[in-house]
């Protein structure tokens, strides 16, 4: 089943390119460390999901590129064609002349309705190229105007036009210290609206990825391209093929649908975070060996202590003693130490994967009281190695990961809102104070629900 990617705005388009490139190079340029036959099946499965094939055998990304100004799209197309490994479809781009100016309201209320028809037509055409469409992956930033505002609008329209297809939004969370002044407004408007129209929000935190580049990849001068490559790696490790069931050697047919069924069935809990291990520069990789036990021990501690990478994990955090679940779980404590999960998915790739012991993730103390580990925990596996890592593990988690950042954003936006700053920029385009209040109350509810697990 195929996944159609919609790349929106500067951020979405830059990331989208890296994601396709990562998928391609993992599938076709990386050794895979498995039999030829299995590698072929893996490639075929990846191709079906993310690429279509032209008559001459060229691979074309299943993607629609949308931006309100032409520069980034031109650059992205150029990059893809220069690399010459895969390409974007010629007719899958939509751009205008003037951006949304970091204004969510402009993207949502002006650009959205104005270009709805053209964009939806493009998407429809790409959809028709798929034998079967599992759903959409919508890549967008939350801080700006086009990604956030238009992205939200398009997600809503996708929900209207393709109610039976899944929608997962790849949401890029802005730097805490600010990259756009009105990022907190744009963020709360985006999140609250997506909560209504999207099935899952996979959050990518710029600060966290920045730190991974710095500490794990040893990059001195970190560029956006570095950051996006790390992000693409994580996404790739999530969406590349895995076996459909324990003991089966068929590749999973519908990763997007399965993932959602496992992680986000509850309407109030839709936010996902992703962690990968190991992550390191290629030069250090050559001198490292890993065991499944070691990787999973780290990954588990990353989960319960809410660490974003394998470095600097707080090893003192322990799950609450079972039988006394209320102690660590219920209070809406802003300094949450123990990170309670709703549901987790661990994806393992590489050598001897069947031998990996996942018992550590099946402890009921890790989860909310109303879900048993049997419901809340899942693991996907393949023995095909990912992206040059002999063994690698990825955790996709619906947990309290995001409570704190969300609480911060809502708090900051609320402060700004209370002083009425910048509101005129939004009312100009029809987003009224009432809309802000709606967004605030919805997100406060989400925070509260996540706190009261």
């Amino acid at each position: 089943m195929s996944i159609l990617t919609v790349q929106l705005g500067q951020c979405g388009n830059q990331i989208g390119f890296e994601v396709f490139d990562a998928l391609f190079s993992d599938s076709y340029c990386s050794p895979g460390l498995c039999s030829k036959k299995e590698n072929e099946a893996y490639q075929a499965s990846c191709k079906e999901r993310f690429f279509s094939e032209e008559g001459n055998g060229d691979l074309v990304a299943r993607a629609v590129l949308v931006d309100m100004e032409p520069k980034v799209i031109n650059q992205t197309l150029l990059k893809a064609s220069q690399a010459g490994r895969w390409k974007y479809s010629q007719h899958a781009c939509f751009c205008q002349k003037q951006g949304s100016g970091n204004n969510w309201a402009y993207g949502y209320s002006v650009h959205g309705p104005r270009h709805e028809e053209s964009i939806m037509n493009l998407i429809q055409k790409e959809v028709e190229k798929c034998d079967s469409l599992s759903g959409f992956s919508i890549i967008m930033s939350m801080a700006g105007g086009t990604g956030s505002g238009l992205g939200t609008f398009i997600t809503q329209k996708l929900q209207d036009q393709f109610p039976k297809s899944l929608k997962m939004n790849q949401v890029v969370w802005p730097y805490g210290t600010g990259e756009v002044v009105v990022q907190n407004y744009n963020s709360i408007l985006t999140l609250s609206h997506l909560y209504r129209s999207s099935d899952a929000l996979l959050v990518h935190d710029n600060d966290a990825i920045h730190k991974i580049c710095e500490k794990r990849m040893n990059i001195r001068q970190i560029s956006f391209s570095d950051i996006n490559q790390v992000l693409a790696h994580q996404l790739g490790s999530m969406f590349q093929p895995t076996y459909s069931a324990e003991g089966s050697f068929h590749y999973r047919r519908s990763p997007l649908g399965d993932l959602m069924e496992i992680l986000v069935p509850h309407p109030e809990f839709k936010m996902l975070g992703v962690r990968s291990i190991p992550q390191m520069s290629e030069s250090s990789l050559a001198y490292s060996t890993f065991t499944w036990a070691g990787l999973l021990k780290h990954l588990r501690q990353m989960l319960i202590s809410n660490a974003k990478m394998e470095e600097g994990i707080n090893w003192h955090v322990r799950p609450p003693v079972s039988g006394l679940p209320t102690l660590g779980k219920t209070p809406c404590n802003k300094e949450l130490h123990f990170n309670t999960s709703i549901a987790n998915l661990v994806i393992l790739r590489g050598k001897d994967v069947q031998s990996a012991d996942l018992g550590g993730f099946k402890d009921p103390a890790l989860y909310t009281s109303w879900l048993a580990p049997a419901d809340a925990f899942n693991a996907w596996k393949t023995q095909r190695a990912f992206n040059k890592y002999e063994k690698s593990a990825t955790l996709v988690s619906n947990s309290q990961f995001l409570v704190k950042p969300l609480d911060l954003i809502v708090g900051k936006a609320w402060n700004m809102f209370a002083s009425k700053a910048y509101i005129h920029q939004y009312t100009k385009f029809g987003i009224e104070e009432e809309d802000f209040l709606d967004s605030f109350s919805l997100l406060e509810q989400v925070i509260s629900s996540y706190c009261n697990l």
Binding site: M1, D131, S132, L133, S134, G135, K164, S165, L166, R196, D199, R253, S254, G257, D258, M260, E261, V264, P265, H266, P267, E268, T368, S369, W370, L371, A372, D375, D438, S441
Partner: protein, 425 residues
């Protein structure tokens, strides 16, 4: 010619030697293929025949396909009893049989005969296990619901329910169901695309001209002869059952004669005042709920209709009066006839719910509109499905609206709480 032969046999009073034949034929037709001896033992109410008959009845009444897991005997017994009750089985003696399934072979034989005498059972059983060689539409809702409710009585592996259940878990399951459906729908879309390709590529391969192309199963048979062999074997087995069924048809009257003697051997039932089994009492009003619900829905509709009709009529009469118009008799007659026709179609629509593709339909790709043999056209089926969906949707929304009203009232009464319903309301 068959008919004449049968008559001859009957006149010859071939009861004695024909009865075993009849029972053997019946036995071969039934799903668990009970030993014919079981029937004889049941006549004398021997307990050793009981387990096999409970099992048989369970399969006949509840199990879609044999072979899958069967609940433990107690559950079988309860399920069979409740199913028979629901079908209106008249003998209360059945309900008093012990739950361990050790007794009552004669009662069970009567029950089975009662079901057989209803007429449609065998046909249904045979269709249920019919080997399909063509490509089908996915299941229709009757089937699915039947399944869902049949599971109901099985001891479900519930979470620790002694402490009650967190509502969030129910929400979780609901959400899961939604995603599972979406996945399923998406998978079927792909299946359609692939089937359509197979049909297109094998156009003209089928020996049956009206079909034209091969189905996936038929093509697979050519790809994998071993599986094809299996299919063939299953078909042959079905043919055997069909032959047995025809045989049973022929000898049926003898069986009924014999059953009269079985019935005669039964002690007369007094009156049915036996205590109801406790497992039914707790939820006995659920059926009434359904009745009440429909009554409420209909009453609401009737009132709305009354209001609408009255308002329209008054408005129309006023208009007529002001403009001094008058309907001629032919106008009245034509109008009445038209409306009547329209309403008759409507009535038909609910009485024969759908010229819908129920059950096994072989999908046939046919690009030209003219086809020998005929069949149901996809476009027509879609139209029927659409109107059916509209109906279901209307009901669902009505119910949701009712809930909304009630809950809004309840929420409004909560002190110091601002209730913000989700968007779109």
């Amino acid at each position: 010619m068959g008919r004449r032969r049968r008559r001859l046999e009957r006149q010859a009073g071939a009861g004695a030697e024909a009865l075993p034949e009849a029972i053997a034929a019946l036995s071969r037709t039934l799903p668990t293929r009970p030993n014919p001896e079981t029937f004889r033992r049941a006549k004398f109410d021997l307990p050793e025949a009981a387990p096999a008959l409970w099992r048989l009845l369970f399969h006949v009444l509840l199990r879609e396909d044999d072979g899958t897991a069967v609940p433990y005997p107690e559950a079988q017994v309860r399920l069979v009893k409740s199913a028979l009750r629901a079908h209106g089985y008249p003998r209360p003696a059945l309900t008093q049989l012990p739950e361990d399934g050790s007794q009552g072979s004669r009662e069970l034989l009567l029950a089975l005969s009662w079901l057989l005498a209803g007429g449609s059972l065998l046909g249904r059983l045979l269709t249920r296990t019919h080997v399909l060689t063509g490509d089908q539409m996915p299941m229709c809702e009757c089937e699915d619901l039947a399944h869902a409710t049949a599971c109901l009585d099985l001891p479900a592996p519930c979470k620790d329910t002694s402490n009650g259940l967190d509502m969030r878990y129910v929400q979780w399951l609901m959400g899961k169901l939604r995603f599972r459906w979406l996945n399923l729908i998406c998978g079927h879309q792909e299946q359609c695309a692939l089937l359509s390709k197979i049909h297109q590529y094998t156009q003209g391969c089928h020996s049956n001209q009206s079909l034209g192309h091969l189905s996936a199963a038929e093509t697979e048979l050519l790809r994998d002869p071993e599986a094809g062999q299996q299919l063939l074997w299953r078909l042959e087995r079905e043919n055997g059952r069909l032959e047995a069924a025809l045989e049973w048809r022929r000898l049926e009257p003898i069986f009924w004669q014999w059953m009269d003697t079985v019935l005669g051997a039964c002690p007369q039932c007094p009156s049915d005042t036996g205590p109801q089994p406790t497992f039914q009492a707790a939820i006995s009003d659920r059926g009434h709920e359904e009745l009440e619900l429909v009554t409420r829905e209909l009453q609401a509709l009737w009132q709305e209709l009354q209001l609408a009709a009255e308002a329209r009529r008054t408005a129309w009469e006023a208009q007529v009066q002001i403009q001094g118009l008058e309907l001629s008799t032919p106008q009245v007659l034509v109008s009445e006839a038209m409306v009547e026709r329209q309403l008759a179609t409507l009535r038909q629509a609910w009485e024969q719910w759908g010229a819908l593709p129920h059950g096994p339909h072989r999908l046939v790709r046919c690009e030209s509109r003219a086809l020998p043999g005929g069949g149901l056209w996809g476009t027509e089926a879609i139209k029927a499905l659409r109107s059916k969906a509209a109906c279901l949707e209307a009901e669902l929304h009505w119910l949701q609206g009712q809930c909304q009203q009630e809950l809004a009232g309840l929420a409004g009464a909560l002190p110091e709480v601002v209730w913000i319903p989700p968007h779109g309301h």
